[in-house]
Amino acid sequence: MKTSSLKQKSAAVSFSDVSVTYGGDKLATENVSFTVPAGSLTVLIGPNGSGKSSLLKSLLGIVDYTGQIQIFGQEPRKSYPQIGYVPQRFSFDPTIPITIQEFLSISFLHCDTPVAQRPELLMKSLQEFGALELVTKQLSQLSGGQLQRVLLARAFLHQPRLVILDEPETGIDVEGGKSFYELLFRQVKQAGLTAIIASHELEIVSKYADQVVCINKQLLCSGAPKQILSSKNLASVFGSHVGMYVHH
């Protein structure tokens, strides 16, 4: 999608001079401003510690920030029920025998779906992300890739308008990551959702993203993948030793 038509769409999310500081003096991001057009797929790229996760967490109210953030034209808190979120790390006690079905069943919170229809909705969500066969397994029995699919199914359970994923490829092998992203992008495009993803998978970013935002404490660049993913830009974001390598 071209940048000019992207800009014409209304903003689903807007960041204005957002700064995140931890412990009073550790700066994570500084004065970051950009918008995420409705119905688009925006990917945040940057090295480890660049502030990608901090930006996403500020959007979700997990960390404090200065500046202004709006989601669908209102303060973020009012839009939370319309958000599906897949965290970078999902920690749980592996000794607790919770099944996938139970894990998703307890996720029907503040939900208008009648109780009788929830099992069907749960199965449908798992099926959309290729995880239906996992329904009777315990959470602790899943591989990294399987867990990410289940978390994705959970994020889509309430039919969100905005999905946020923080490095969802963490803990998944290359092939698993590719199929995971293909599933995700298909669902996002089919439903016309807005998606913000923090990712290191530049090949996938270039293939699917409508907008790329480069972060390294500050906003370094933003625009269409073809414009942004040049050697010069990548060097300014990641350092001069970085290049793009295509997985085979």
């Binding site: 939370y80 999902f90 959970r154």
Partner: protein, 267 residues
């Protein structure tokens, strides 16, 4: 004395009723404590409740009520202090644990004579509970069981993934406050049975036993109460027949069952 003879004794009948109620609620709340990794929190609240006992005795009202009120106050205060100071929960629990027992003993020293209440709360005294005590235990027990049955999905969701629950619009502060209150009441009632020092045996061990066999969260919640009741009844009967302290007997038998169940499961 035979078991039949023991069962006919009124004090033993009261102990059975109280023991069953406490076992069920400690089993159910124990699952949430394990999910929330709040074992040390429970231990601290149990010890701190002695201060509530002392306050109750000094002011002349039911010490069990004093213990419950003080435990609830602490359970709600500690998370607030963690959020609004730079002290970690670990620091706060360490401070509370060390100060509370000392404060209880100091307060009790203002009362004349030997204080059997302190010893009964340290090591448990279910055999000496009165009908009014049974009434109090039963009322609280019914409330806790009712809340868990009605809200177990919401409580499980918040305990398992608080961040997700918050994004779904759940006021997690209120839910955590409710859980803390239920924990506090359960801990104090457990203390009445096995004593403050051994309360974790009844709160945590039945969940750890059931966890080895449960294949789902639902099975875990279904298995824990009967396991807890079985351990309490076995300990109660054994202690009376052999004439040894009840609270420690329950704790030792529960611990032994946990050990054997773990060894059997590993094979």
């Amino acid at each position: 004395m035979s078991i039949i003879e023991v069962l006919a004794l009124p004090f033993f009948q009261r102990a059975i009723i109280g023991g069953i109620v406490v076992a069920i609620i400690s089993g159910l709340m124990g699952v949430f404590m394990v999910l929330k990794k709040s074992t040390f929190f429970g231990e601290t609240i149990a010890h701190a409740s002695l201060t509530g006992v002392a306050i109750g005795l000094l002011l002349g009202f039911e010490p069990l009520l004093g213990a419950i009120l003080f435990a609830v106050f602490l359970s709600l205060s500690l998370p607030w202090l963690e959020k609004n100071t730079n002290l970690s929960m670990d620091n706060l629990l360490g401070f509370t644990l060390s100060i509370s027992v000392g404060l209880a003993v100091v307060l009790l020293s203002f009362l004349p004579g030997y204080q059997p209440e302190l010893m009964s709360y340290l090591f448990g005294s279910i055999l000496s509970v009165t009908w009014s005590g049974i009434g109090l235990i039963s009322v609280f027990g019914v409330v806790i069981i009712g809340v868990v049955l009605r809200y177990h999905t919401l409580l499980s969701a918040v305990v398992f993934d608080q961040e997700y629950a918050r994004l779904r619009g759940i006021n997690t502060w209120v839910v955590n406050a409710l859980l803390s209150t239920l924990f506090a009441i359960t801990i104090v009632l457990c203390s009445r049975l096995v004593g403050v020092i051994l309360v974790n045996a009844l709160l945590i061990l039945p969940t750890l036993i059931a966890r080895s066999y449960a294949r789902s969260l639902r099975e875990l919640f279904l298995l824990v109460p009967p396991i807890a009741v079985g351990c309490v009844m076995l300990g109660l009967i054994t202690s009376v027949v052999i004439n040894i302290p009840t609270g420690p007997t329950i704790a030792v038998l529960t611990g032994t069952i946990f050990l054997f169940s773990t060894l059997i499961r590993r094979r």
